[in-house]
Subunit: 207 residues, 4 copies
Amino acid sequence: MQRRLTKRGIERRDQLVEFAAHRFAENGYHPTSVTEIVSGLGVGKGVFYWYFTSKEELFVEILRGAQRGLRRTQEKAITGEGDPVARIELGIRASIRWLAENRDYFTLFQFASSEERFAPLLRLGEDVAVADAARHIRAGMDAGRIDEGDPAALGHAILGVTNQLVRILLFEKGEDPNRVADAAVRFCLGGLRGFSGVIAAGAHSPA
Amino acid sequence: MQRRLTKRGIERRDQLVEFAAHRFAENGYHPTSVTEIVSGLGVGKGVFYWYFTSKEELFVEILRGAQRGLRRTQEKAITGEGDPVARIELGIRASIRWLAENRDYFTLFQFASSEERFAPLLRLGEDVAVADAARHIRAGMDAGRIDEGDPAALGHAILGVTNQLVRILLFEKGEDPNRVADAAVRFCLGGLRGFSGVIAAGAHSPA
Amino acid sequence: MQRRLTKRGIERRDQLVEFAAHRFAENGYHPTSVTEIVSGLGVGKGVFYWYFTSKEELFVEILRGAQRGLRRTQEKAITGEGDPVARIELGIRASIRWLAENRDYFTLFQFASSEERFAPLLRLGEDVAVADAARHIRAGMDAGRIDEGDPAALGHAILGVTNQLVRILLFEKGEDPNRVADAAVRFCLGGLRGFSGVIAAGAHSPA
Amino acid sequence: MQRRLTKRGIERRDQLVEFAAHRFAENGYHPTSVTEIVSGLGVGKGVFYWYFTSKEELFVEILRGAQRGLRRTQEKAITGEGDPVARIELGIRASIRWLAENRDYFTLFQFASSEERFAPLLRLGEDVAVADAARHIRAGMDAGRIDEGDPAALGHAILGVTNQLVRILLFEKGEDPNRVADAAVRFCLGGLRGFSGVIAAGAHSPA
DNA sequence: TATGAATGAGTATTCATTCAT
DNA sequence: GATGAATGAATACTCATTCAT
């Protein structure tokens, strides 16, 4: 929706985004009704539709904002670092730090990934982050510091580790973000160096 | 619901479970209505509530069945293998094989993880699998084949890698399950051996 | 909506159609809400959507039924009459009689004609009736009893006269249907014989 | 609403009337929202309620304006013509010409006739036009050029023919206004001369 | 005069669940 | 075991109107 907003309008809009993000994270997207959002803010229902064309649009906006925030944090973190492996490490640490501070958004990412409507948008953001990582991985390979392999796949592996450890160690067990980051970094950098496996690749078990 | 079912009753019930699982995976849990399920099977609504007390109960049952299936596959795969690292590898490969053949369930796991109601049940299953892996990891550490660390955390890291690669490489890019397994195994075994990182652990960036 | 209805179901459905037709006629289609319809019948809201997919569908169904009823009446009226002009007259009289007894439907026709969504359906019915009349008119022309001209246009002229006189004389002034029919027939049969006009055709006033 | 308007105010008001009339005709009165009207003109909502107390008031105003316009056209057309039948003919021709050039208003008349709220106003205008015609008809009867009968009823019959032929021939089939007028005049003048019917008046079919 | 913001009752429709047969 | 019918609270969204500035 394109609307010229006054200062007051911008504030209202931000209020809505923030409050809704919190409720969505806490209660789920579907179970959170528009009525709940507006009455939680003590405003009329029309207010919601003055700022957003639909509940879906609001969610997409929240998602976009969160992705932007995470990405900025990552970029800021690796600025000035030249070593590709170090850049990867810094990226992982920055992501975990950001997620620790934005638990709501992490939950929203989780949900978005499970709905056909939102998953593509989420993937878009993931792909950008993974492509970034892949560039560093490529550089690491060229420098002989990382085993040859598909850089994008390795980037996704890092994403998988990070998300799972954040969910379990950080949010479920309440561990310290830095220790979670240590564990993630250690596993990922080890993973990047690879290991051929006990069972010869190709000698797969029968279907 | 506990009901003594005739043979025909059992078939009906299974039909419902199977059909619903497919629709839930395809369309989402919330967007799929009970009406849609029963009319898709050409039966009346009473049938549904004869076998299940609620839509939620049905979903839980589907989830439980899927977890049971995955677990059995994993157990079967490692039976007879004594080496702990090989057991881990076999477990990873078995999981990926099973997920490749049960895409619907993978999607359902995703969704379950995003709803407060179902997440605990999902975690339960994950914890069992992770505990299994952790035992092998512990054994690997004792044998000096795996770097010291928190076995459960490492187990979760493996889970994270596996799920992400399955989603992206297998389902999104359509790669061959065996090649996906190769990539996952390689990354995970490397990860288990760890790598101390370029930046000294503990020397974290400022919050 | 295709549904196997029990006897009770058919009754309910008929109830809904009848009641809604009355309310639509009395109050207008838009101003009459689904809530009003169901609560007027003392049933839950779901009942409405058990029988109809939408308010619009219900209206279309009402419209179709009314058109069918009018048409049947017209057909029955002219059965057995061979003279084309007499057939026209009988058709006019039958229409007016039917409209007098189905005032609600007349009002609904009026409304339908004013909404882009429903107008085409209405025109379809009108066209059928006009085509019927046009056949008789054609026959009348061939017999030299009606002036040459476009039969369809003449049929529409008859329709226009009939509807307007029904609205004004019958419904507004409350005149007797037979007298209204007399006036309509007289005007229409005169109109069919035509009159060249005082001002020469073609000598049109300036735009 | 009575407000002393500046020149600019009058222009704004006219803009609103014109634009709204077009949207109402195109899209229907109910489906066209005030928001749509003001945003279509690129102004705020306050503007609307500065000039009109309600959407309904605006519609009434549009209707009144249209009726005034049509009436003026009719009056101008018959000015200077003394023969009553010719006056009728000129009136019909003028009406059709005006409707051809004001299709939007024709549609609005249609709608107004179908809503209890607006119908009385519409009838008022119709009655004026019919009364006019009735005077000429009366004169024609006195001069023996038109069959005896109820002049008002005959006036309405003319109105019915005109409206229907305009809708079908002019708007639906896109015929030339002059040819439509020829057909209408011919039918109406014929109708005024009447025809006793094949079936004896009074010998009505059974109810 | 005009704007953007807000109101809140109202709308059509959905849907998990229950009921009578 | 199974059906069609019914429930009614809930949902997302609309819109004529009002208000503060």
